[in-house]
Amino acid sequence: MIYFQLFWNFFVIGCFSFGGGYAMLPLIDRLVTSHGWMSVEEFTEVIAISGMLPGSIGINAAVFVGFQTAGFTGAALTALGMVLPSFIIILLIGKFVQDFQDRKFIEQVFYGLRPVIMALIIFSAIKFALSMEIITSFSWKSTSFLIVFLIALGFLIFKKTHPMLVIFISGICGIILYY
């Protein structure tokens, strides 16, 4: 039963994860916390690990959830559920859409879809920040969290630093600040 639940839920997420890996995170977060499979704190750690590994952060996180919930079979079914919608949709496009004449229609749908995805991603960032108690309380820990966050964001936006490097250095900051 859990197998079917994993497969089906991640299949649905796979159908609606427009905008790549990061856009999947709010959907997975909602699924995981509403089923009680993980707490928000645990899921934040999962995302941290997923971001450090090669490949799509969303699929990595999904596989992590699948494995933790139902072992190897769970991980495999989660991955399958996640990519099956892409597979079906792309084969349909490959078979039936020749010159991408429907681009205008797609562009019109995406015009309204992208702002929603942006809101979803920002909302999940705020949720994670709340779960790490960055915003809620004023303490040395929350202040240092905020400083590392701002520096990391600055490097990502203005210096185009590779995400992997940002993650690596912030891990070292973690050892210096909290160990």
């Binding site: 609606f16 994860s17 790549g20 890996g21 990061y22 856009a23 959907l27 909602r30 750690e45 941290a48 690990i49 997923s50 971001g51 450090m52 090669p54 490949g55 799509s56 699929i59 933790q68 990519v83 919608p85 892409s86 597979f87 949709i89 792309i90 084969l91 490959g94 991408f100 019109q108 749908v109 995406f110 309204g112 992208r114 702002p115 929603v116 995805i117 942006m118 809101a119 979803l120 991603i121 920002i122 909302f123 960032a125 994670f128 790490m132 969290f145 905020l146 590392v148 936006i157 995400p163 940002v166 993650i167 912030s170 891990g171 900051c173 973690g174 050892i175 600040l177 909290y178 160990y179």
Partner: protein, 195 residues
């Protein structure tokens, strides 16, 4: 038949090879895929790859995996797409599972806990950065600002399923685009009538 098997074999290993070297998600993978598929293997020309990448970005799912599926399909049909999909996914699946074991082995270690505390800030920064990158194309006028704000308010105050919100966003986008087109046409017609 033998030719076909050889192509499938090559497809599998091309994507297997591209997969584990790409940290930082799908977009980092695209130039590599292009180099392998266009320049080395000469399976497709540059125009075809650009079209494929456009579809890969519009279809739901991870961009790199979508591209692998589509390229596999174009090169060797249904079997090709399956082989390419497995090629690009297998190394990552193995790496993720190894990482999970390491996580459970070390997560109570105080150093690892400190590392995760540091990582949390970076993860949130990465998520905000992803929102910023999408925002650069998403927020193009007043309508899109309003859509983003309304979805944000809905998310905060109503426990609505994100899937519904995404569907709603697509629907609203379609309606507003159509309205804009008709308004433009009306304006044009009016001008024509005046003159």
């Amino acid at each position: 038949m033998e030719m076909k098997l050889k192509t499938l074999y090559k497809l599998f290993f091309t994507f297997l090879k591209v997969s584990p070297i790409t940290f930082g998600g799908g977009y980092a993978m695209l130039p590599l895929i292009e180099r392998e598929v266009v320049k080395r293997r000469k399976w497709l020309n540059e125009h075809e790859v650009v079209d494929i990448l456009t579809v890969a970005q519009t279809a739901p799912g991870a961009v790199a995996i979508n591209s692998a599926i589509f390229i596999g399909y174009r090169v060797a049909g249904l079997l090709g797409s399956i082989v390419a999909l497995f090629g690009i996914m297998l190394p990552n699946l193995l790496i993720v599972i190894i990482a999970i074991f390491m996580y459970f082995a070390f997560r109570d270690n105080p150093i690892i806990e400190a590392v995760f505390n540091g990582l949390a800030s970076a993860v949130i920064a990465l998520i905000v950065y992803a929102a910023y990158m999408i925002g650069r194309t998403a927020i193009s006028d007043l309508t899109t600002i309003v859509i983003a704000l309304i979805s944000f308010i809905i998310l905060i105050f109503l426990n609505v399923n994100p899937v519904l919100l995404i569907l709603g966003g697509g629907f609203v986008g379609l309606i507003f685009s159509k309205l804009k087109v008709t308004r433009k046409e009306k304006r044009k017609n009016r001008r024509r009538n005046v003159s």
